[in-house]
């Protein structure tokens, strides 16, 4: 194809997206569209899978049976969501195994928030309330993204995730209304998770690459800073409602903007964690790589058995 033909195809492609048409796997697409989607979708899938670990850490110690089943179901959903997203990404011509390889070798990223440790039961509340809260803000607009399989996966994910944030908030609420010790536990968790949750919505617009292109392809509908503001504005009243204090002395309602002003985010910490030097980066990767490698003989056995079964069937047929 000549360069001019490609440019013409690209123009038509962009027009289709602008008309809100969906792109499907076998449609022609610019190479950059394909690559960008593989990167973002696999990163999203990795985040679900790595995200199972900090919460999985408390399944065996959940304080009641009701909490235990809710947490188990939630962490299981994350596995499901990872699976939907990996499957959707596979339609772009990359296998799940290749994506795992990229995760395990550090070539692919996942959400940095999961590199913080979950050290108390209240962290299950904070993660559900804040981390899932921030994730939902990011995810809801993706239900309408231009790539069909991604949009469909996100519709499923968003529908299922509706209970996740409630699950977390309920834990926090119960603690905040509980004994002084429980309330301290809740406040401590909020103190530790608040800033990482704000960072989770991504670097400031000034520092964010890819944004313009992503907006055009509907991979992103709002800028990071707008999403962050939305998250803060919706979360602060929730904290007040249950009597917890947001750990930001500069947080103040701005009557003119009808929004909260907030303090400076420690972006050095953010970049340190992104670059692999957060408290749990190495530990999380070790757990993922470990599960994959220890599972190799199981996956191999299942394939070997399937082939034997197939052969037996064919012999019987003859």
């Amino acid at each position: 194809m000549s360069e001019e033909q490609i440019r013409s195809l690209e123009r038509q492609f962009d027009e289709r997206i602008a008309r809100d048409e969906k792109i499907e796997p076998k449609d022609w697409m610019p190479e950059k569209y394909r690559k960008t989607h593989i990167r973002q979708m696999s990163q999203h899938a990795h985040s679900e899978i790595v995200g199972m670990l900090p919460e999985g850490n408390w399944i065996s110690r959940a304080p009641s049976l009701r909490r235990k089943v809710a947490l188990l179901a939630k962490v299981q959903d994350e596995a499901g969501h990872g699976l939907y997203l990996y499957s959707a990404t596979e339609t772009l011509g990359i296998s799940r195994e290749e994506m795992y390889e990229q995760l395990h070798t550090g070539k692919a990223k996942y959400s940095s928030i999961f590199n913080y440790p979950t050290i108390s039961w209240a962290d299950m509340g904070a993660v559900g309330w804040l981390v899932d809260g921030a994730a939902i803000i990011n995810q809801v607009p993706l239900c309408n993204t231009s790539y069909g399989p991604y949009a469909r996966a996100m519709i499923r994910v968003c529908k299922e995730e509706s209970f996740h944030q409630r699950q977390g908030f309920e834990i926090m609420m119960k603690l905040a209304n509980g004994s002084p010790e429980q309330k301290d536990m809740a406040q401590d968790a909020l103190n530790r998770w608040w800033w990482p949750s704000l960072m989770m919505l991504g670097p400031t617009d000034a520092e964010s690459i890819h944004t313009e292109q992503s907006m055009k392809w509907k991979l992103k509908r709002k800028s990071n800073d707008d999403l962050r503001q939305q998250f803060i504005d919706q979360t602060v009243p929730q904290a007040e409602l249950i009597g917890l204090t947001i750990p930001d002395p500069d947080l103040k309602w701005n009557e003119e903007r009808q929004s909260y002003d907030f303090g400076e985010i420690n972006w050095d910490e953010f970049w340190q964690v992104v670059k692999g030097h957060g408290p749990m980066n190495k530990h999380r990767m070790k757990a993922r790589v470990g599960a994959w490698e220890e599972g190799a003989w199981v996956r191999d056995a299942a394939m070997a058995h399937a082939e034997k079964k197939q052969e037996r069937k064919q012999k019987e047929a003859v």
């Binding site: 899978i49 199972m52 670990l53 999985g56 399944i59 065996s60 110690r61 959940a62 304080p63 009641s64 049976l65 009701r66 909490r67 235990k68 089943v69 188990l72 179901a73 962490v75 299981q76 596995a79 499901g80 990872g82 699976l83 990996y86 039961w121 834990i171 119960k174 603690l175 509980g178 004994s179 010790e181 429980q182 757990a287 470990g290 599960a291 220890e294 599972g295 190799a296 003989w297 199981v298 996956r299 191999d300 056995a301 299942a302 394939m303 070997a304 058995h305 034997k308």
Partner: protein, 251 residues
């Protein structure tokens, strides 16, 4: 307590599901594939669901203000009545599935009998559980066949697991004095009558899986009387941690 025997009997049944559910839950996030991970968590969720039905019933019988959580998490090790089999650790996937399979075959046969219990609540719980456990048994026996008749490595691992876990199978059919009393009252299941069919079925699956049926006649028991293997203490330490560290609080 008026119904001390019934109360103890329910705990004996429920503890098996509780401890096995806890073991299966440990795997969440660490399975050999995403699909398998999700499947194992489903089994764990089924088991915890059963536990809650049993303990809610037990709490009602006890009638002394204890909740399902008090019963699940605030007993001493010697007061847990689960069989030794279910507390064995997730040494590797072959042990996990081997344990599941050896228990599922018993569990299903047990529940089918419990459906006939003259205690209507127990029989209603059994009705619901039978469907769940039928699926567990299909799932675990399919995996035994896959791993046994898979690669040389998987066969060796599966055989090791079956050999090691075999010693805990006989206890499933051991009848305590309390069990006998419950059978006489028509509430309980006579587990001794399940034994023959159990080994027939187990052996059939093992054969199909091209595995060797262990010949050892030396068996371990004690769980039903609260004398456990060393593994249970650690499991309970995690299960009970929050309730012990923060007593008398609501979560």
């Amino acid at each position: 307590m008026k119904n001390q025997n019934l109360y103890n009997y329910i705990l004996g049944i429920a503890d098996n599901s509780l401890i096995l559910g806890q073991r299966m839950g440990e795997l969440c996030g660490h399975g050999p594939s995403l699909e398998t991970d999700i499947a194992c968590t489903n089994i764990s969720l089924d088991l915890f669901g059963q536990v809650r039905s049993y303990f809610q019933y037990a709490a009602k019988i006890a009638g002394d203000g204890r909740t399902e959580d008090d019963i699940a998490m605030l007993r001493k090790e010697r007061d847990y009545k689960n069989v030794l089999l279910v507390e064995q650790p997730n040494t590797n996937f072959a042990y996990t599935l081997g344990r599941q399979f050896l228990f599922d075959v018993y569990h299903l046969a047990f529940l089918k009998e419990l459906q006939k219990s003259t205690d209507l609540t127990l029989s209603a719980i059994a009705n619901k559980c039978v469907k769940e456990v039928s699926y567990h048994e299909r799932f675990s026996s399919d995996w035994i066949k896959r791993l046994g008749d898979g690669t040389a490595e998987s066969k060796a691992k599966m055989q090791d697991a079956i050999n090691d876990l075999w010693t805990y199978t006989d206890e499933l059919f051991h009848q305590t004095e309390a069990d006998k009393a419950m059978v006489e009252e028509g509430f309980g299941v006579d587990v001794t009558r399940l034994k023959e069919a159990y080994y027939t079925e187990i052996n059939q699956v093992l054969e199909e899986a091209t595995l060797t049926i262990p010949e050892s006649k030396y068996f371990q028991k004690g769980g039903k009387e609260g004398i456990h293997t060393e593994h249970l203490g650690y499991l309970l330490a995690e299960l009970q941690y929050m309730q012990r560290a923060y007593p008398n609080m609501e979560w």
